[in-house]
């Protein structure tokens, strides 16, 4: 990979408002542009495209983060980064020639007058304006003015050309001609170009990459689209290219989703003023397991009351009952599987769609798959020996998961499939209460189960099972449990939600502190949480580097470190890809809209701030699970195409439930 020519590094731009507030125009923008590349910035008006361009030009300075060109920070504007401004910015009191001469003479100070005038004439000829060289801009048409502006910019041989909606004000015919000219000129000059536009066809025709910005405030990069059309390009050839309409519909889909999100934001306004001073009661549902450790700590240490929350934890023994109560409005929030917010919002399994959101990930990792002892006696110790064994079997392997369609099932299916096992034919997946798994296995009704590691460890201790795989073999650091609630509840009780998140985040930090482990085991062993029977398994869970047999030596769950709390839409995108892979839903063509509705990283940031932690942000780089196939959130369909046993990759626009859905929200 070549070193980036221009790097936008973690740029955030904040403008002070007249009323003393702050407007965050851009948030955490990361972008690398290589030399000679043509990149378009696209997005709705007010999304900060021009702000970003001005930052690249050096006309403004980022509030945090910075811009590097050739490894040097951009601190002020300069002719090597020439801008073609939105309204041409020609000096009206100078002729075309004088306008260009001002730039050339000023930049080429060391050259002779003859060289300067040669460059000026050459530039005028380049855009075909020889006949108008001595006219004033006021006497020129919009298209001609824009050509002068481009000629002026190119005359000084910039290394980076920045175009701010260069053809926005022109009629279609002129625009088409100029686009073609610009493309030829840029290609000949080999100049790196960044163009702001809102015209999808223009972006596709000219660009190597299209960077889509989400709506402001706090605009970020929503998607980056590669435009692999061959160069040199001709408008008609481009439009007839087989990839063109796919690319075009991606871009238009993005813009439409952003528009709907904007409308949604305008429609949804809080019913009660935020920031109630008194203690707010929050009913939280959970299933006992190691994943509730942050909750237990937050309660025990008084973090919740510190943040003004009176929590009523409600324990369940089956995920289905927890979900039912959440949907009925008997619970305000719940700690659920990472797949639940999306599954509820999509309405999988024929349920009515329910607009769920998640402001934070509570835990990551922590699952293990175990099989009954007899399998290891048969020599099955890994995926390939299991696959081998299953080939000859007439009945499927019976494995239990805690809930249909939860994160464990997705991991398990992905892992099985990567080893050549068809999870729908060679395996039968049953949903069982995690508390019942060990007993069911003992009764011989299942062959194995995937569950939290501490539960697996208990079954191993009891001599029933051996561990076949942990989530390190599947996806180390996967989101396991997230906080889930209804969109309306989040809106109307935003303070309570943020406070709850902050308390859980602080609890999570303590769970990862090795000095706290003894206390943590004692706390979780209390009757109200996991019970004294869990103490041994818990001890082992936290006892890194102990002397367990190698198959049981499990690394820790992640509660806090390495950006564990992020509500990461890219991971949501992977979950959606799996829903579609196993034929549970079509792949939503409006996935970005869905994801930005469900994954509320804005709430996550505010909760982190409230908890006193540094803000987290996801990396845009593709990630891979243990099978090594890279998942690029900008191109999930390509990922699906690389996976075995892909049931359906139908693209479908999925209507999203809104807060005003018929399901009533129970009042307190």
């Amino acid at each position: 990979m070549t070193v980036a020519f221009l790097t936008v590094d973690d740029v955030t731009q904040v403008f002070p408002l007249d009323d003393g507030g702050r407007y965050v125009a851009l948030k955490d923008i990361d972008l690398s542009i290589s030399e000679g590349e043509f990149v378009s910035l696209i997005g709705h008006s007010g999304c900060g495209k021009s702000t970003l361009l001005n930052l690249m030009a050096g006309l403004t300075q980022a509030s945090s983060g910075g811009i590097l060109m050739d490894g040097r920070q951009v601190t002020d504007p300069g002719p090597e980064r020439m801008v073609v401004f939105q309204n041409y910015s020609l000096l009206p009191w100078q002729t075309v020639r004088q306008n260009i001469a001002l730039a050339v003479n000023n930049v080429m100070r060391s050259s002779t007058a003859a060289e300067q005038s040669e460059r000026i004439e050459q530039s005028i000829q380049l855009v075909g304006l020889g006949h108008a060289a001595d006219k004033y801009p006021g006497e020129l048409s919009g298209g001609m003015k824009q050509r002068v502006a481009i000629a002026r910019a190119l005359a000084i041989r910039p290394r980076l050309l920045l175009l701010d909606e260069p053809f926005g004000a022109l009629d279609a015919l002129t625009r088409g001609n100029l686009q073609q000219q610009l493309m030829q000129i840029c290609q000949q000059a080999g100049v790196t170009t960044v163009m702001v536009t809102h015209d999808v066809d223009e972006a596709l025709l000219l660009s190597d990459r299209v960077v889509c910005l989400t709506n402001g405030p706090e605009a970020g990069i929503g998607q980056i689209l590669q435009v692999p059309l061959p160069r040199p390009r001709q408008r008609l050839e481009v439009m007839n290219h087989p990839d063109y309409y796919h690319l075009r519909s991606e871009l238009i889909g993005f813009l439409q989703q952003q528009r709907r999100l904007k409308q949604r934001k305008q429609r949804v306004t809080p019913l009660v003023p935020a920031g109630k001073p008194d203690l707010e009661t929050v009913r939280l549902g959970y299933l006992p397991g190691l994943d509730i450790a942050p909750l237990a700590v937050a309660m025990e240490r008084g973090f919740l009351s510190e943040h003004g929350i009176e929590l009523r934890p409600v324990a369940f023994d089956r995920w289905q009952s927890l979900e039912d109560e959440l949907l009925k409005g008997e619970l305000d929030v719940a700690i659920t599987s990472a797949t639940t917010p999306l599954a509820l919002t999509l309405g999988l399994d024929g349920q009515p769609a329910w607009p769920a959101i998640t402001p934070m990930t509570v835990t990551r990792s922590g699952n293990a798959l175990c099989l009954a002892r007899r399998f290891s006696d048969l020599g099955i110790h890994n995926l390939s020996s299991l696959a081998e064994r299953l080939k000859g079997r007439e009945w499927p392997l019976r494995l239990a998961v805690a809930q249909k369609g939860n994160m464990q099932e997705l991991l398990l299916r992905h892992w099985l499939a990567s080893g050549g096992i068809d999870p729908d034919r060679e395996v039968e997946l049953l949903a069982l209460s995690p508390m019942a798994m060990e007993a069911t296995l003992r009764a011989g009704e299942i062959d194995g189960f995937i569950a939290g590691r501490y539960r697996v460890a208990k079954a191993v201790d009891a001599g029933l099972t051996t561990v076949l795989a942990t989530d390190l073999d599947m996806w180390g650091g996967h989101p396991e449990k997230v906080l889930t609630c209804h969109e309306d509840w989040a809106l109307n009780h935003q303070e309570a939600l943020l406070n709850l998140c902050a308390a859980l985040m602080r609890g999570g930090q303590i769970c990862e502190d090795p000095a706290e482990h003894d206390q943590l085991v004692a706390l979780l062993g209390a009757a109200q949480w996991l019970g004294s029977g869990s103490a041994l398994a818990l001890q082992r869970q936290f006892d890194l580097g102990g002397d367990e047999p190698s198959g049981v030596r499990l690394p820790l769950n992640r509660f806090h470190s390495d950006r564990a709390h992020l509500a990461n839409a890219a991971e949501g995108s992977w979950i959606l890809s799996q829903f579609s892979r196993w034929g549970w839903s079509a792949f939503p063509s409006n996935r970005l809209e869905l994801l930005s509705q469900v994954y509320r990283s804005d709430l996550c940031s505010r909760a982190l701030e409230r908890a006193g932690f540094a803000d987290l942000r996801p990396e845009r780089a593709p990630f891979a699970l243990a099978d090594g196939v890279a998942f690029d959130q900008d191109n999930p369909l390509e990922y699906l195409n690389q996976l075995p046993y892909c049931r359906a990759t139908a693209l479908e626009s999925i209507p999203l439930p809104t807060g005003s859905s018929p399901r009533p929200i129970a009042a307190h």
Binding site: A57, F85, P92, Q94, N106
Partner: protein, 232 residues
Amino acid sequence: MARLPGPINVIVETWDPYISQPFFDDGGTSKGLGWQILISLQRVAMGYGLAAVVGIAIGGVLGLNRFIGKGLDPVIQVLRTVPPLAWFPISLMVFQDANTSAIFVIFITAIWPIIINTAVGIREIPQDYTNVARVLRLRKGAYIRNIVIPATVPYVFTGLRISVGLAWLAIVAAEMLKADGGIGYFIWDAYNAGGDSSSSQIILAIIYVGVVGLALDRLVAYVGSRVAKGGN
């Protein structure tokens, strides 16, 4: 109530010598209207010219330096509302000379619109042009020559046009109070003379004052349009 003469009477009564011989000179203050107007114009030229030079300079400083601009704005706003003739007694006290005082009154009347418009013009230079200057890294001199001055010229000339009208208003009034010669002196003199043709002389002088005022305005506008050639 005294009756004023009709148009024909005005012309008949002033034909000789005021219309037919604009440049007669009987010595002393008894001169043709042409001379009287030239005397007034001379005073205006001095006061107004001085106001233009000083006003553009001060306006330039105020426009380029936001700090000074903000600090001096209240002072300017107070002083510019003082009526021209209110300055006259105090300038007579200082200068002890009617001619110098009249020039000073013109100066002090004409300077405010020039200052204000120049400063506004510089502050209102479109961001686009300053951005161009910043991207090209224009030096200060080139920036002022190529951008500040051309962009400000229309504003300056708006100020100059307002000022020339005010200056002409002020000179007639100042000359009526105390002066040797000038069109304002002529009007007041004719009134004091109280002769049969006095009212006709006054009416004729008023018409001349108006015509000259219009001519001055047009002249400044014309110069402005020539200077700001190729402008918006």
